[in-house]
């Protein structure tokens, strides 16, 4: 690969001048293949795109702590490829339009080699679209919408959380045999909710259950009383809820007040740790999915928790949760991939990540995990958990019920839905 001493900024300036000077020049689609000098003493800059305000501010903070811990571990060992890793964080405000602007800024002004972080799928899409334009590798750490590794997959984007379909796969068959076949769905009336409910519906049909009704919950709902009355009137055996964000927090509170969590079985798609940490245990009802728990009985977990507590002694959240874990794991695997590739060249890093395999012990999960090269989603163990009633330890909120291997909970539709740009169509760079 030819190496010219061109920085990204001077490159962009040149492009700017050319187009300014000659408006009649035909500027084809943005498909320059750029190579930058990678002076070995120059730090590797990583842009952190987690939300610091808006609906997912709290999860965003946890996500970011995960990334930072992984990065500081590499820096303590002398950096990556002998280069120090530096970060810059800009708030994406849980707003896609802001995500676009932040990504433009991080890539063009701060010359970030990689971007990491997302909770909201809208923000993740906005960032990944800009990242794809420049070829910048982007890690979607915590957005669990099935569209992320399906319809909206990208060559430069890698998804590290389990998605709605995975969690439904893990829960539905067990719930039908344990609780009954008469099901009701409560679905947030937007894309994530509909995708998740569609996955649940398919599985319920497949295993002989029946869906008696589906209640659509508009985004921004704060009062669930009318809907919960309707649930009672229909008296299902199982309610499968795909309600997220602040809506979920309000719903949880109201369901627990009614004690409905005990009178019928509830399946909550996924429960992010930062959303429940510190709340009364009553608020956790039914069965829900997660990718990791801090009291998993596996080697390394306890040390990991200790490292967290050492790194963040002042944080209110005393133990790491799934959001932190995903942020940490994604970042660690990216930096390891850069080391294996021996370069920050994006194509080499993408190829490394596409063939990524991580052993169960490295993942601190029950099964080996691997990157699906067709969808760029990490295939990993999914746990089902419930409230740990009767515990004396306020941090020990979950009781893990079961774990499913990646093959059992595979999102089979994603492969067909995902049409990724080819590697050749992705601009290349090396920072």
């Amino acid at each position: 690969m030819p190496r010219k001493t061109l920085t990204r900024r001077s490159m962009l300036k040149k492009v700017g001048l050319v187009s300014a000077g000659a408006a009649a020049t035909v500027m084809g689609p943005w498909r320059h293949n750029r190579v930058y000098a990678a002076a070995s003493d120059k730090p590797i800059m990583i842009g952190l795109t987690s939300d610091a305000s808006g609906q997912y501010a709290n999860s965003g903070a946890s996500d970011r702590r995960g990334m930072m811990m992984a990065i500081s571990e590499f820096n303590e060992r002398g950096g990556v490829l002998g280069r120090k890793v530096e970060t810059i964080h800009i708030d994406t405000e849980t707003t896609p339009a802001t995500g676009s602007r932040v990504a433009e800024r991080l890539i063009t002004r701060h010359e970030c080699a990689f971007l990491i972080g997302a909770v909201s799928s809208g923000v993740a899409n906005a960032i990944s679209q800009v990242a794809q334009k420049y070829g910048t590798v982007y890690l979607n750490t915590n957005s669990s919408s099935p569209t992320e590794s399906g319809k909206n997959c990208r060559r430069v984007k890698f998804v590290w959380d389990g998605n709605g379909t995975n969690f439904a796969q893990a829960a539905v068959r067990n719930a039908i045999s344990a609780y009954g076949t008469k099901w009701m769905l409560m679905t947030n009336d937007y894309v994530w909710g509909h995708n998740t409910s569609a996955a649940t519906r398919k599985l319920v049909d497949q295993f002989g259950g029946e869906i008696v009704d589906e209640i659509l919950v508009p985004q921004g709902t704060r009062d669930f009383s009318a809907m919960l009355l309707k649930v009672q009137q229909a008296a299902p055996q199982v309610v499968a809820a795909a309600v997220g964000g602040d809506d979920q927090k309000a719903m949880r509170q109201q369901v627990s007040q009614l004690g409905l969590g005990e009178s019928m079985a509830w399946i909550n798609n996924q429960q992010d740790w930062p959303d429940v940490y510190g709340l009364p245990l009553d608020n956790l009802f039914g069965v829900f999915g997660t990718t990791w728990y801090w009291k998993l009985d596996l080697p390394g977990v306890a040390e990991f928790v200790e490292r967290y507590q050492e790194a963040y002694p002042d944080t209110k959240m005393r133990v790491p949760g799934n959001v932190f874990y995903n942020g940490y794991m994604a970042t660690r695997e990216l930096l390891s991939a850069v080391e294996r590739a021996g370069s920050t060249n994006n194509r080499k890093v993408i190829q490394e990540l596409e063939s990524l395999k991580v052993s169960a012990s490295d993942r601190m999960q029950h099964h080996d995990a691997y990157m699906n090269p067709a969808t760029h989603q990490m295939q990993q163990t999914i746990y089902l958990a419930t409230a740990n009633q009767g515990t004396q330890n306020p941090d020990d909120m979950f009781r893990v019920l079961s774990q499913s291997a990646p093959e059992e909970i595979r999102d089979a539709d994603a492969d067909a839905a995902c049409m990724m740009e080819s590697l050749d169509d992705t601009p290349t760079y090396e920072m």
Partner: protein, 342 residues
């Protein structure tokens, strides 16, 4: 310095030339002050949006808190045209402007016989309805994931043609649009039509007694303002290459009100231009320094309302008007800012 009246009579004012020159050279110096070309694209787009919005708020005294809806409609219309019909820059923009105009015209039928707080809340209600539709109709709009992969069609005019793939190229295209909007709005507010709008702002009842069809004027200005928002929206969807429901949210609609007022939309034609520049720069500069930038911005905002309620433009006018030692430069700036109003 020419008097306000004769400046108003011109097609192109000195202020416009100054603004456009500053913006035209922006790609040459924006990186040396630590910013990036893409920011210039967004600033220019929001200036268009703000100028159109101030036609309602500043000139007609009609507070619209749901204007993001029309911005969003423009963005979706442009994107859908490119993705579903065919790729064309000018037809796409025309489609966006028309869609926003039609939506604005329909909404205005409900609004134009309402005033003050009732007008304001009806705009919120309609804004929410459009926002709801954009989330709900996700087979068309992509829901919260947004409408993605919107192309930036090439600029083609006769034999000349230019790609808008790079942010700098797009910036110059937006700048040309901004120039056209500036001239058009400048003429509009200084036309007899603009005078009637200001009369309505000062006293709607009197304007009606004088014999103007106030309803029709309000209807027209609302639809025009919506169309300009749609134009800005179409450019925004090009800049972002996607369209999202969030630009239609109450929050986003509130921000354009804030930008217009903080710049001094009530007292100057240039209020929204200044407000947009200040807001974007503050957000980018403060936002990189501190995560609690909104707190600081809010505090500055409160202080500004308390001590300089006419906004930045108003503050300048006062500052210059009060002092004896009037330097040429200061007078020039004051003239710049007051040129929009008598």
């Amino acid at each position: 310095m020419a008097s306000g009246e004769s400046v108003a009579a011109r097609w192109v004012s000195r202020q416009m030339v100054l603004l456009l020159v500053v913006l035209a050279t922006l790609p040459l110096w924006i990186e040396s002050i630590g910013l990036y070309p893409y920011l210039g694209v967004e600033i220019a787009i929001w200036m268009i949006y703000g100028l159109g919005f101030n036609l309602l708020l500043g000139y007609s005294g009609l507070p619209s808190f749901g204007h993001g809806a029309f911005f969003g409609i423009g963005a979706y219309a442009f994107g859908l045209f490119q993705l579903r019909v065919f790729e064309s820059l000018f037809l796409g923009i025309a489609c966006a402007v028309t869609a926003a105009f039609v939506a604005g015209a329909i909404v205005a039928c409900f609004l134009s016989h309402r005033r003050g707080i009732y007008f304001a809340l009806m705009t919120i209600a309609f804004g929410q309805v459009f926002w709801f539709i954009s989330i709900k109709w996700h087979t068309l709009t992509g829901g919260e994931d947004g409408l993605l992969n919107i192309p930036r069609p090439a600029f083609e005019l006769g034999v000349a043609s230019a790609g808008l793939g790079s942010n700098t190229a797009l910036f110059y295209f937006v700048l040309v649009v901004l120039a056209v909007v500036l001239v058009a709005l400048w003429r509009l507010v200084h036309s007899p039509f603009g005078k009637v709008l200001q009369a309505i702002r000062q006293n709607e009842v009197r304007a009606r007694f004088v014999g103007y069809n106030v309803w029709l004027f309000k209807w027209t200005v609302f639809a025009i303002s919506a169309a300009i928002a749609g134009l800005a929206g179409s450019l925004f969807s090009m800049a972002q290459q996607s369209a999202y429901p969030d630009v239609m949210s109450l929050h986003a609609s509130g921000i354009i009100v804030m930008m217009t007022l903080i710049g001094g939309g009530f007292v100057s034609f240039w209020g929204p231009v200044i407000g947009v520049a200040v807001y974007f720069l503050a957000r980018d500069v403060l936002g990189a320094v501190t995560e609690t930038w909104l707190l600081w911005f809010g505090l500055i905002f409160v202080l500004a309302v308390l001590f300089k309620p006419e906004g930045i433009a108003g503050a300048w006018q006062q500052h210059v008007g009060s002092g004896d030692r009037r330097s040429l430069a200061r007078r020039a700036v004051a003239g710049f800012l007051s040129a929009g109003r008598k």
